[in-house]
C-alpha cells in the first residue's frame, strides 16, 4: 500500500498526465468492483475470496503483462506472449505426462522456452532493427504452430507434485463466516505470491536501478539516450529477454492454474496483456509506464471477466469485446494526452 502511494506521489511530481491516467485506471477498477459488489452481492461478489480469486485467476497474466510493460516502456511491443504461454503449457503437460519428466524439469523447460523467445526476438529487434511487431507476430505464429506440432490433442496434467503445487492453499487472516457460523479463511495459491513478488521486483528494478531508468530514457527518445552514452541496443535486447523470461514464468503460472495444455490455450492473451499495460498507463509510444498501473489493468480485465461470468447470460465473447473497447478508449485517451503534450512543448 505504501508503495502505491509513493508511486502516485512521485509520478505526480514528474508527469501529471500519466498520474491522471493511473488515477483513472484505479478509479475505474474501484467503480467496477463496487458495482459488482452491489449488483451481485447475493452471488458472493462481496466476499474477500472473490478478490482472491481475481488474483488467482490472473496470476499468470500479471507476470506476463509486467514483462510486456518492460518492453513497451522501451517503445517496443511483444505480441508473442499468448503463444509462448500456450507453448509453455503444452511443453509442461507433454513433458510431465508423456515423457515422464519431473515438475522441476517442466519449470526449467518453461523458463527456457521463454528465454529462447526473448533472446531470438530481442536480437532481431534490437540488433537487426526489424519492427518489433513483425518479429513478434512471427513469434506468435511460430509458438502457436509449435504447440500444434507437439500435440493437437488436449493433455491434462495429473502429476502429483504439480497438482500439490497448484492446490497448496495459503490462508489469509481475512475471510467470511458461513451459515453455520464457522469462519472460512480466504485463501490464495502460491502463484499469487510469485506474481506479487515479480511485481515488487519489477517495480524496484524500474524505479531504482540504473537499468530500469535507462529503459525509460530509451523509450522516451532513443537518439538522445544513445548520445547520453546508454547502450541502446543492449538495453532493448535485455528488455526483450526479460519479457520472454516473464512470459515463460507467467505461462507456467497460467499452466498451474489451468492444469492442461492444448493448442487453443491462451488465445488472445497477448491482447489482454497489452490492454492491461495500456489501461495501466503504459504509453504505446514508449517512455512511460508503471507496473502498479499494469497490476490494476489486469485486475480490471479480471473484474470484467468475473462480472460477465457472474451475470451468466452474456456470451463469453463479450469479455473480449469489452476489453477491446476499453483498450480502444484508453489508446484514444493516450493519443489525446500525447498530442496535447506535444503542442505544449
Amino acid at each position: 500500500m505504501s508503495e502505491k502511494l509513493q508511486s502516485k506521489a512521485s509520478t505526480k511530481k514528474t508527469l501529471s498526465s500519466t498520474t491522471f491516467l493511473l488515477f483513472i485506471t484505479i478509479g475505474l477498477f474501484i467503480v467496477m468492483y463496487v458495482a459488482g459488489m452491489i449488483l451481485f452481492a447475493d452471488k458472493g461478489f462481496s466476499k474477500p475470496q472473490m478478490f482472491c480469486n481475481l488474483l488467482i485467476d490472473n496470476a499468470g497474466l500479471i507476470v506476463i503483462s509486467l514483462g510486456l510493460t518492460i518492453v513497451m516502456i522501451t517503445g517496443g511491443i511483444d505480441i508473442s506472449v499468448g503463444s509462448v504461454t500456450a507453448l509453455v503449457c503444452m511443453v509442461s503437460a507433454y513433458s510431465m505426462e508423456k515423457s515422464g519428466a519431473s515438475v522441476y524439469m517442466a519449470l526449467l523447460f518453461s523458463l527456457g522456452i521463454g528465454l529462447a523467445f526473448g533472446i531470438v526476438q530481442g536480437f532481431l529487434v534490437s540488433y537487426l532493427k526489424i519492427q518489433p511487431f513483425i518479429v513478434t507476430l512471427a513469434g506468435m505464429f511460430f509458438g502457436r504452430g509449435m504447440t500444434a506440432v507437439i500435440s493437437t490433442e488436449m493433455i491434462s496434467i495429473k502429476n502429483e507434485t504439480f497438482l500439490s503445487w497448484a492446490q497448496y492453499k495459503i490462508s489469509l487472516p481475512v475471510g467470511t463466516v458461513n451459515k453455520k457460523g464457522i469462519f472460512q479463511a480466504a485463501y490464495i495459491y502460491p502463484t499469487v505470491v510469485i506474481a506479487l513478488l515479480v511485481l515488487v521486483i519489477v517495480f524496484i528494478m524500474l524505479r531504482y536501478t540504473k537499468f530500469g531508468r535507462s529503459l525509460y530514457a530509451i523509450g522516451g527518445n532513443d537518439q538522445s539516450a544513445m548520445m547520453m552514452g546508454l547502450n541502446v541496443k543492449r538495453t532493448k535486447f535485455m528488455a526483450y529477454i526479460m519479457s520472454g523470461f516473464l512470459a515463460g514464468l507467467g505461462g507456467f503460472l497460467f499452466c498451474l492454474n489451468t492444469g492442461a495444455g492444448f493448442v487453443e490455450q491462451a488465445k488472445g492473451l497477448e491482447m489482454d496483456a497489452i490492454s492491461a499495460s495500456v489501461i495501466g498507463g503504459t504509453m504505446l509510444s514508449g517512455g512511460v509506464g508503471n507496473p502498479i498501473g499494469t497490476l490494476f489493468g489486469v485486475m480490471i480485465k479480471g473484474t470484467i471477466n468475473s462480472l460477465i461470468t457472474t451475470q451468466g447470460t452474456l456470451s463469453s465473447w463479450w469479455v473480449r469485446i469489452s476489453v477491446a473497447a476499453l483498450l480502444c478508449f484508453f489508446i484514444i485517451l493516450q493519443s489525446i494526452i500525447g498530442s496535447k503534450g506535444k503542442k505544449k512543448s
Binding site: Y127, Q131, L137, F141, G145, T152, I274, R320, I331
Partner: protein, 355 residues
C-alpha cells in the same frame, strides 16, 4: 561488362526476388508431385494442383492487395483482415438466412446481403483507418483491437452458431458458374486486381500513397492530405477483406466465425514481404504481392501434401517471414556489404604483400 550489367538489371528488378521464390516453390512441388502441372477436365470443370493453388489463392491475392496498400501508406500492417473476413461472412449469411441456422431458401436478396457485408467490412476498415490516420496509433496496435474483437463480433452477429446457406446460387461465388470450367474465385481475384490497377492508372492515388509512406510529414507540407490518404487505404483494405470473406464463406456456404480467414493475416503480410515490398512502407509493387500470394498458396499446398497439419503451418510461415525480414533489414544489408568490401579489400592487399 555489358553482360554483368544485364545480369544486374535482371537481379535488380523488383520482381526478381518474388519470381525466384515462386520458382523454387514450384520446383519443389514438381519434385514432390510429378503431375503437379497436369490439368484435367472432369464433369466440365478443370482439375489439377495448379488450378487448386490459383483457386485457393484468390482470397489471399485479394487480401494481399489491401495489405500492400496499407503497408505502403502507413508503414504498418493490418492484422485484422482475417477477423474482418469473418465479420463480412457473418453479416452476409445472417441476412440471407434471416436468423435461422440452416436455410434452403434465401430470406433476403443476395445483392442486399453482400452489399451489407461489404459495407460492414468497409466500416471495420474505417475504424482501423480512424485509429491509425486520425489518432496516429501504430497500425498494428490499432488493428489488434479488431483482430481480437472481430471474431467476437462475428459470433454475436450469428448468435454463436454456424449459419448454413444451402442454396446453389450462394455457392457460385466460391464454386463455379454453371457451364464455366474455371472456378469463380479466380475471376473475383482478377476483377479485384484490375479494379485496383485501373484506379492507379487513372488516378494519382499510387503516387500519393507512396509519398505518404516515404515521408508523411513532407507529403503533408507539399499539400497532400496524409490523414485522408491513410484513412482511404484502410477502408479499401477492409472492403477487400470483405470480398475475400464473402468468397471464403461461399466456398463453405456458411459463416464459421472461428475459422474463416484464420491465420490469413499472416499469409497476406508474408505475400507482401515476399513480393519484395518493404514492410516499412514507401514504394510498392502490386505485381510482386500477387506473385507472393500465389507463392504462399503453393507453399501451403506443398506442406499439406507433405502431411503437415493446418495448425502446424504457421511454424514454417513464421520462419519464412523471419528470414525475409532479416534479409530486408538495413543492418543485415550493410553487414553483407561490409563483408564484401572487406573480402575485396583483402584480395587487393594480398597481391600487394607478395609484390
Amino acid at each position: 561488362m555489358s553482360k554483368k550489367s544485364t545480369f544486374k538489371r535482371i537481379t535488380g528488378n523488383h520482381l526478381f526476388f518474388p519470381l525466384v521464390c515462386l520458382f523454387v516453390v514450384l520446383v519443389v512441388n514438381v519434385i514432390k508431385t510429378p503431375n503437379f502441372f497436369a490439368i484435367s477436365l472432369n464433369n466440365g470443370v478443370l482439375y489439377g494442383y495448379v488450378i487448386d493453388v490459383i483457386n485457393r489463392g484468390s482470397e489471399l491475392v485479394i487480401l494481399a492487395l489491401g495489405m500492400t496498400l496499407v503497408t505502403a501508406a502507413s508503414k504498418g500492417q493490418d492484422i485484422s483482415v482475417g477477423a474482418v473476413m469473418a465479420v463480412a461472412a457473418a453479416v452476409c449469411t445472417q441476412i440471407l438466412s434471416g436468423g435461422e441456422t440452416s436455410v434452403t431458401q434465401l430470406q433476403n436478396s443476395m445483392l442486399f446481403a453482400m452489399l451489407a457485408a461489404l459495407i460492414a467490412a468497409a466500416l471495420c476498415g474505417a475504424f482501423n483507418g480512424f485509429l491509425v490516420a486520425k489518432m496516429r496509433i501504430q497500425p498494428m496496435v490499432a488493428t489488434l483491437i479488431l483482430y481480437t474483437a472481430g471474431r467476437g463480433i462475428a459470433q454475436l452477429i450469428t448468435n454463436g452458431q454456424n449459419t448454413y446457406i444451402r442454396v446453389e446460387s450462394y455457392k457460385v461465388l466460391g464454386g463455379y458458374i454453371s457451364g464455366c470450367p474455371i472456378p469463380t474465385p479466380i475471376f473475383v481475384a482478377i476483377a479485384a486486381v484490375i479494379v485496383i490497377a485501373l484506379l492507379f492508372k487513372f488516378t494519382t492515388l499510387k503516387l500519393y500513397i507512396e509519398s505518404v509512406g516515404i515521408n508523411s510529414n513532407a507529403s503533408r507540407l507539399v499539400g497532400l492530405n496524409s490523414t485522408r490518404i491513410i484513412f482511404i487505404v484502410y477502408v479499401i483494405c477492409g472492403f477487400l477483406a470483405g470480398i475475400a470473406g464473402l468468397v471464403n464463406s461461399s466456398r463453405i456456404y456458411s459463416a464459421d466465425a472461428n475459422n474463416i480467414g484464420l491465420n490469413l493475416e499472416m499469409d497476406a503480410i508474408l505475400a507482401v514481404a515476399l513480393g519484395g515490398n518493404l514492410l516499412s512502407g514507401g514504394k510498392f509493387s502490386l505485381a510482386g504481392s500477387i506473385i507472393g500470394a500465389y507463392t504462399i498458396q503453393a507453399l501451403s499446398t506443398t506442406l499439406y501434401a507433405m502431411d503437415v497439419k493446418a495448425d502446424q503451418l504457421p511454424v514454417y510461415k513464421a520462419i519464412v517471414v523471419i528470414i525475409i525480414v532479416t534479409l530486408q533489414s538495413e543492418v543485415f544489408r550493410s553487414f553483407i556489404k561490409k563483408l564484401r568490401t572487406k573480402n575485396t579489400g583483402q584480395g587487393d592487399m594480398a597481391p600487394g604483400k607478395e609484390g
